[in-house]
């Protein structure tokens, strides 16, 4: 009896201990078999017509197989094409072309290559000359100004078009630029080297498997209805040194614009230095140069407005929505909403807006527009810049004004003025740009789009490899362009004045260009950034637009920076009469309407503006988003489970079958022995 009670107590004690401190063998064995690695996947996005990107409904995986050239693909097909074994190909970025993807997709029918790991950087692998842009041959052209033109110019003939394909297998990017990615790169490459040494036939071999489940399917309308996707969008910024700018003040405006972000196949790796970041840096530099003008910009006959648009790569969402909002009638009804308006002291709760500043910009009063498109200088080897126009006659004098100012560029045989893109007799009109959104509403705006290419967008356009920063050359190039443009804008803004102040004193700050490029492309927690924000652990930012939240819209880091920077250069610091400039540490330390920028209270005309596809409408009374115009931008991003990727050893199918046979055989033998033994013992030990 005592023994039984002791036994029961022991059991209870044991079960309590195991349940509270449980760490079963499975979870402690897992790390010895599998190595979990971080992933940078291609994800699924949808629009009004369908879906693009990657999706893995059930797990997929295969033996790591290195492919470095088209020949190796052919070899692979001949050697392993018929086998039932799955492979995961590790390829360099330059091999990610439409042809290769088609080849692999053809293999997919035999379930051969179940996924791709794309290396953006590896010492031996990428010959830069063979890189091509993953974007389509005419990016966003169906949303642009010339969508209905019969002979639209094809700006990206080398484009692979992969960025808008619905890929039949998962693709993961790998760019070893920081600690984590370098670690993952080493793990994958070790596995590949291991397999290579064993010639892919001497099992066990290293394999990899992925999980990448996307919840949305079909198109934007369906997934928005089902609640499985979110709208792609962000926050644009606009600013003006004219703090009293109003729609009805009769003054014309000059708009300077750039794109705040870009796009690529792997959204976590998007950097877009040449594609659009260069343009943003140029815009900010011009703003800063003009802020040091000898006379206050508010007094000039024309307003200057700086605009930075987000989500331009997604059907020009930012600029289209901005233009739509500034030209449409604004009716505030303050009706009941599905969710609370997220802005403090909103001037109107239905529709919910942060401020009414956007109504102060009058589209009909916009006289000229300059856009800084791809202006890194990379495409022209830092030797020239081109001015693209829509209407040659209308902009003739504008381009001439731009050409009056000298350019100093670091490249060989560099041109010393901005070139007219149509100087070879070919009027290609505008490349894909935010300017198109303005021209769609008001074709009389004198528009110039500045780029470093004349005929083609270039092989770095929206590429994942567009993170190359040749700091000296690029900053000198952009600085030169910003200098010439700032001088032109200053003179242009004085058109109509009785006395014109010369623009010689307007100079671009090349150190600023360099810092901006470095911070925004490589390391957001740089010394310059610490003047504006308290950041320490943010390294390389992803320049992908990401998703827009209607319930809690928070501007992304880059938008915040642009807002703060522009607010600083266009605003006025308040001087406390006796104490000097008013210091502050947060916005609450300043009076209402002021911002605390670089520890001083600044009043400025700078504002945010929502940016998401104009084909989508947010119904504030129901809280639902729906597709209202399929001809405009309607991009949404699918909700997804955390993608996982793990590396491990596998044995051959033959080996596994042998194990099965051995096991079954052993069981059959033991059954035979037991039956035989039973009858033998019965006979021998008769009383049994």
């Amino acid at each position: 009896m005592r023994l039984y009670s002791i036994a029961i107590i022991l059991t209870l004690l044991g079960s309590w201990m195991t349940t509270s401190f449980a760490q079963d063998i499975a979870s402690s064995l897992y790390p010895y078999i599998y190595t979990d690695v971080s992933t940078w996947p291609c994800v699924r996005l949808l629009n009004a017509t369908g879906q693009i990107g990657c999706h893995v409904p059930n797990g997929a995986g295969g033996i790591l197989y290195q492919i470095e050239s088209q020949d190796e693909i052919n070899n692979f097909v001949s050697k392993h094409g018929g086998s039932k074994q799955n492979y995961a190909a590790v390829i360099p970025y330059n091999l990610l072309t439409k042809l290769v993807v088609a080849n692999i997709a053809a293999l997919d029918s035999t379930k051969c290559i179940s996924g791709l790991i794309v290396l953006l950087r590896a010492s031996s692998m990428v010959p830069e000359a063979s890189l091509s842009s993953p974007d389509t041959s005419c990016p966003n052209c169906r949303f642009g100004l010339y969508a209905n033109d019969p002979d639209q110019y094809v700006w990206n003939p080398q484009g692979q078009g992969l960025i808008e394909e619905n890929l039949p297998f998962p693709v993961f990017g790998l760019n070893p630029v920081d600690t984590v990615s370098k670690q993952v790169f080493n793990i994958v490459m070790r596995g590949v080297a291991f397999n290579l040494k064993k010639q892919y036939t001497d099992y066990p071999l290293q394999a990899i498997d992925f999980k990448l489940f996307m919840w949305a399917a079909i198109d934007s309308e369906t997934c928005l209805r089902r609640g499985w996707c979110q709208v792609v969008g962000g926050t644009s910024v606009f600013s003006s040194p004219s703090r009293q700018i109003a729609a009805d003040d009769g003054k014309k405006s000059i708009v300077l614009t750039a794109s705040l972000d870009s796009r690529s196949l792997f959204h976590d790796l998007t950097n877009g230095v040449a594609t659009s970041l260069s343009g943003l840096v140029a815009l900010l530099t011009v703003a800063e140069s003009l802020s040091r003008a000898p006379v206050s910009l508010e007094l000039l006959p024309k307003h200057i407005v700086y605009t930075g648009f987000t989500a331009e790569a997604w059907g020009f969402a930012g600029s289209q929505r901005f233009v739509q909002d500034i030209s449409a009638q604004f009716q505030c009804t303050n009706a009941t909403r599905a969710s609370v308006c997220p802005f403090l002291n909103a001037p109107c709760t239905f529709p919910c807006v942060r401020s009414m500043d956007f109504k102060r910009i009058n589209i009909d009063n916009i006289d000229s527009l300059i856009e800084f498109n791809s202006v890194s200088g990379l495409n022209s080897n830092y030797s020239s810049y081109w001015a693209h126009v829509d209407d040659v006659d209308l902009t003739q004098s504008f381009v001439a004004d731009l050409q009056k100012n000298n350019l100093t560029l670091p490249g060989q045989n560099s041109q010393n003025t901005i070139q007219a893109a149509n100087q070879d007799g070919n009027q290609r009109k505008l490349p894909p740009s935010s300017a198109m959104s303005f021209l769609q509403k008001n074709r009389n705006i004198k528009t110039v789009v500045l780029t470093d290419f004349q005929k083609e967008l270039g092989s770095y356009y929206n590429s994942d490899m567009d993170d190359k920063v040749d700091l000296d050359l690029m900053s000198q190039s952009i600085c030169g362009l910003a200098d010439a443009t700032a001088k032109t804008v200053f003179l242009k803004a004085q058109e109509g004045a009785s006395t014109i102040i010369p623009a010689e004193t307007i100079t671009a700050n090349c150190t600023l260009v360099s810092s901006l490029l470095d911070c925004l492309a490589s390391n957001f927690s740089c010394p310059m950034m610490k003047n504006y924000f308290n950041v320490s652990s943010v390294g390389r930012l992803s320049h992908y637009t990401s998703v827009f939240s209607f319930v809690n819209p928070q501007p992304q880091l880059l938008s915040r920076f642009v807002f703060t920077f522009l607010g600083d250069v266009t605003g006025t610091r308040r001087n406390n009469s006796d104490l000097g400039p008013s210091g502050c540490s947060t916005m609450q330390d300043c009076i209402s309407g002021e911002y605390c920028i670089r520890k001083q209270c600044v009043s400025t005309m700078t504002a945010y503006h929502d940016a998401y596809g104009t084909g989508l409408t947010y119904n504030e009374s129901t809280g639902k988003v729906s597709v209202t115009d399929p001809t405009k931008g309607t991009w949404t991003e699918s909700t997804w489970d955390t993608p996982t990727m793990r590396v491990f050893l596998v044995t051959s199918t033959k080996h596994q079958v042998i194990e099965l046979v051995v096991g079954v055989l052993w069981t059959l033998i033991s059954i035979a022995v037991v039956i035989f033994g039973r009858s033998f013992l019965k006979k021998t030990f008769k009383t049994d």
Partner: protein, 244 residues
Amino acid sequence: MSLYSFFGCLFLAYGPILSIFFLYIARNAQYVLLMVSSAFFCLIALLISSVIWYLAKKTQSTHAVTIAYSVAIQEIFRWGFFRILSRAETGLNLVSRNPNSPFNRPVFGFVSGFGYALMSCLVSYISLLVESLGPGVKMCQSCPGLSLFFVSAINTTIFSLLHMAWMMVAFEGFSSYKTKSGMLQITWVIFSHYGASYATLFNASDIHLGCVYSALIGVVILAISCAWIAYGLKSRNYINRHTN
């Protein structure tokens, strides 16, 4: 590793246990009850070993120390179970098929050994077996051509047979511990249990073909124990024949 490996290792590890259970033990309710009681005792022994392992954090990865106290506790509980069984023996014999058979004790020993084997092998191998369902595999360090799951399955099957044999030898030994042969049998069980357990350390070592040595040692111990049991049964049979 997929389903092939899973079923292969499952049948390899639990083949003898499954066949003996379904073809011998399950046919007799008394055997089933004995088996469950014995399994319970083994479970308690394993539980206490686990608690000690959990508390002795410094030696958690020193397998030699873990084996030392785990085997000791299992043997103590083996003896404990024998004591309980011997108290209940008259009752057990009464309800057995053949109350006066001298083979009842060996049979009880066998069935108890089976219970011990079942519980010990289930606890030690089942988690590993479940891992074999996944695609990844870990190769055995000393025999790199075989997977860990396979080598462990072999060890599990050998140990299941060993536990059955040890229990039978131990019962013989405990019941006649005053005699020299009884003490010898008890000593044999303890030392061979330690021997077989320490031999499994060869699997994870860097000794070339270590897994073969560990399996071989297990098989040799099994053979010796079986020989001893056969001898014991034969002498019982001889006595039985010549007294009836």
